[in-house]
Amino acid sequence: MWLTRPLQERSTQVFLGVLFAALVVVSALHLFMPEDSALYVSSYTVTLLGKYLCYALLAVAVDLVWGYLGILSLGHGAFFALGGYAMGMYLMRQIGDRGTYGDPILPDFMVFLNWQELPWYWHGFDMAWFAFLMVLLAPGLLALVFGFLAFRSRVTGVYLSIITQALTFALMLAFFRNEMGFGGNNGLTDFKDILGFDLRTDATRLGLFIATGIALAIGYVICRGIVTSKLGRVSIACRDAEARTRFLGYRVERVQLFVFVVSAMLAGVAGALYVPQVGIINPSEFSPLFSIEIVVWVALGGRATLYGAVIGAILVNYAKTVFTGIMPDAWLFALGGLFVLVTVFLPKGIAGLLHKRRKAETAEPTPAQEATA
């Protein structure tokens, strides 16, 4: 079965091993170390690591489409944010009458912009199962429609990148509008609890952190499953020689669509786990800059390796946490420099450095093919 196949391969076993070890260690240090101990992991750090893991999952999603399908999506932030909003709406509904105005139904921002009743698309989000379904469906559907149109008319390569960017930009503008009923610029915040657990307790935070870790593991296995399957090899075929793949009888646009949708849904899950941990979702997650940043995490880690994406995401964001602390001005220089250096001198990223000889699917497409892809 395609999903179990990855579990037999060593690299995946190693990855999962490291991941779960990290989860256990962090939890242990957090729970059993005394506060003042040097090894104590505060709930602050736990949440921070949780955030990194969300980004890691997001990066894996991007690597799936970019690394294996050659589709450079500059709009994955949109899917991430949509998942986040779906979760955010659920959390808002959970507040119930504990909001500032004590309105049992309407979220605060609707009350003081005196909305009369709940917009239709807010209904159902008080039920966890529905909200969590939406976490998958909202990004999935967007990806399906957008991808269907784009791939059908064979919009690929640079054009696709640019219109994905336009897509997320348009969504950002849209969500900034207060008429949209998503809280405008302020977004959704001041969450109280999730599935009955108080979000303000360390226990819940640890729980979310572990949940994120598991989500990452599952997401990773799914992606591995796809790329190690024959479909994965077909994807690479589409990436490197689209026309040839067609003449072999594969419906390239459907392959692209399928992988794109899966990736979008993974991104959505990442967003959904991100929101309760950082405590806010607002339109800035849609900003094109964020989407491009994701791509650079992947590029740095090494595309078409999946675990490279994880490394890249964690590394860059950890660097960001440190840098913005010690020398804020230098951060943009560092990030910008990273973009340039990685793409020019490190086309295969860190993973490329790690392995000299690589497994077949991770080979870099040649210029000629890239140009056509």
Binding site: Y44, T100, N114, N185, N282, L315
Partner: protein, 432 residues
């Protein structure tokens, strides 16, 4: 291979936490400064960081508080709203700061709020905002709508005789709320609906042609017309440019802005703006010795002769002094004690009066109307006879007109509903 990387990451992340853990110094009073030093908001916020550093320096020179020195802890939320929450948590949970001065945008405050309440910290918020909020842990030293918008409208109505109103704003919560309040206020004052025009534009809107020409049309009916502008930051330059180019000057249709201060003007060719208005609680041009001293200090601190001061800086000045007084009064930096002690504390502001901390954690401020001059300064043309107390809950919004806030015992409630006589949703939050 990847294993090593991961382990390394894990460790380094831990190392980070460790290093932060180990610095839990007892002696100095730690003052967290939570202002963006990079990203879009850096323009406005970085000066506030410097202001805080200046004030702390001064206080330390005077021997600190209760014989304890003050130690600033500066972090950079990088204009990224989730990052604000994260950094706030870092300040409170790791650095164990005694108080935080920070935030500019409403969204950043909203994102920090839950953290500050959860970890029971103190936050001084220095920027004019939409109100509709009162947290036990936050002190609002900026203007609430009734300390800026409403007096400004009164001025236009009574002194200038404006009958027709354009409420133009950037599409986010502050303008939305302010305009909602003003709309109700104007209608209560007998302005008919078709004498009010409301318009929202996105952040950084640069193509004002049609909107300005609409305003022009709207204003050409013979009734005196004014624009109440809650347009934010970058969008202002093209807006005023377009006004000037389409031949609208302050004499025909005055624009009163709530987000344009000395600092914003420093980036604008003020020629075409002369005569347009702004409403603040402080202007750099205010003629008081306290102010002149502050400006001198600021110029020295920055080393720039042309450095400007503005309203949020004054807010921090007031907030900081209030905190100092409160700690002295309480004799400790213990949060609960300070919270109780600070209510009623009065400190001099920069306009020659006094600011008092009200039970609703807002302060009393004078409201000044200034006209823009060609030197990028404002000349005060009107001010409220006495100071105005900040109103957490607007009387002009259906949702909140019955709410009051009083953080003194026994009420200790941020949104007490005077009709139902019960404390609203925040009840259990206040208790934990």
């Amino acid at each position: 291979m990847s294993i090593k990387k991961h382990v390394k990451l894990g460790l380094s992340a831990l190392a980070l936490s460790v290093s932060l853990n180990s610095v839990a110094a007892e002696d100095p009073i730690k003052v967290g400064i939570l202002h963006s030093l990079s990203g879009t908001m850096a323009i406005s916020e970085s000066t506030l960081k410097d202001t805080m550093l200046m004030l702390i320096e001064k206080q330390n020179a005077e021997g600190g508080i209760l014989g304890r020195q003050l130690e600033p802890v500066v972090v950079d939320p990088a204009s990224n709203w989730p990052l604000f929450a994260e950094k706030a948590r870092e300040l409170l949970a790791k650095e164990k700061v005694d108080v935080i001065f920070g935030n500019w945008t409403s969204v950043s405050r909203k994102s920090v709020l839950p953290v500050v309440e959860e970890l029971n910290g103190l936050l001084f918020y220095p920027v004019q905002y939409e109100g509709e909020e009162s947290s036990e842990n936050v002190f609002y030293t900026g203007a609430a709508p009734n300390q800026q918008a409403i007096p400004a409208v009164d001025y236009l109505m009574n002194e200038i005789g404006v009958e027709r109103w354009v409420l133009a704003g950037t599409d986010y919560v502050y303008p939305r709320t302010t305009n909602k309040i003003l709309e109700t206020y104007l209608k209560d004052a007998g302005v008919s609906a078709d004498d009010i025009m409301i318009n929202y534009t996105p952040f950084g809107h640069s193509n004002w042609q049609s909107i300005v020409s609409d305003i022009k049309k709207f204003g050409s009916t013979g009734k005196k017309t004014a624009v109440v502008s809650t347009i934010n930051g970058d969008a202002n330059v093209p807006f005023y440019r377009e006004l000037a180019n389409q031949g609208i000057d302050a004499a025909d249709i005055p624009v009163v802005a709530f987000s344009v201060g000395e600092q914003e003007l420093s980036g604008i060719d003020t020629g075409p703006l002369v005569g347009h208005l702004a409403a603040w609680n402080y202007f750099m041009s205010v003629d008081s010795d306290a102010n002149y001293d502050f400006i001198d200090a600021w110029v020295e601190h920055t080393g720039k002769e042309d450095a400007v001061t503005n309203d949020p800086m004054e807010a921090h000045y007031i907030g900081f002094n209030m905190y100092v007084e409160a700690v002295k009064k309480a004799g400790t930096t213990d949060v609960e004690a300070v919270k109780d002690a600070i209510i009623g504390v009065a400190v001099p502001n920069l306009t020659g009066g006094y600011a008092t901390m009200m039970p609703n954690h807002h302060i009393t401020k004078p409201v000044l109307i200034g006209e823009i001059q060609d030197n990028g300064q404002f000349s005060v043309v009107w001010e409220t006879p006495s100071t105005v107390a900040g109103d957490a809950w607007s009387d002009f919004l259906p949702g909140s007109k019955d709410l009051i806030s009083d953080w003194r015992k026994p009420m200790k409630c941020g949104n007490f509903n005077v009709v139902t006589g019960s404390c609203g949703g925040k009840a259990e939050v206040a208790s934990n």
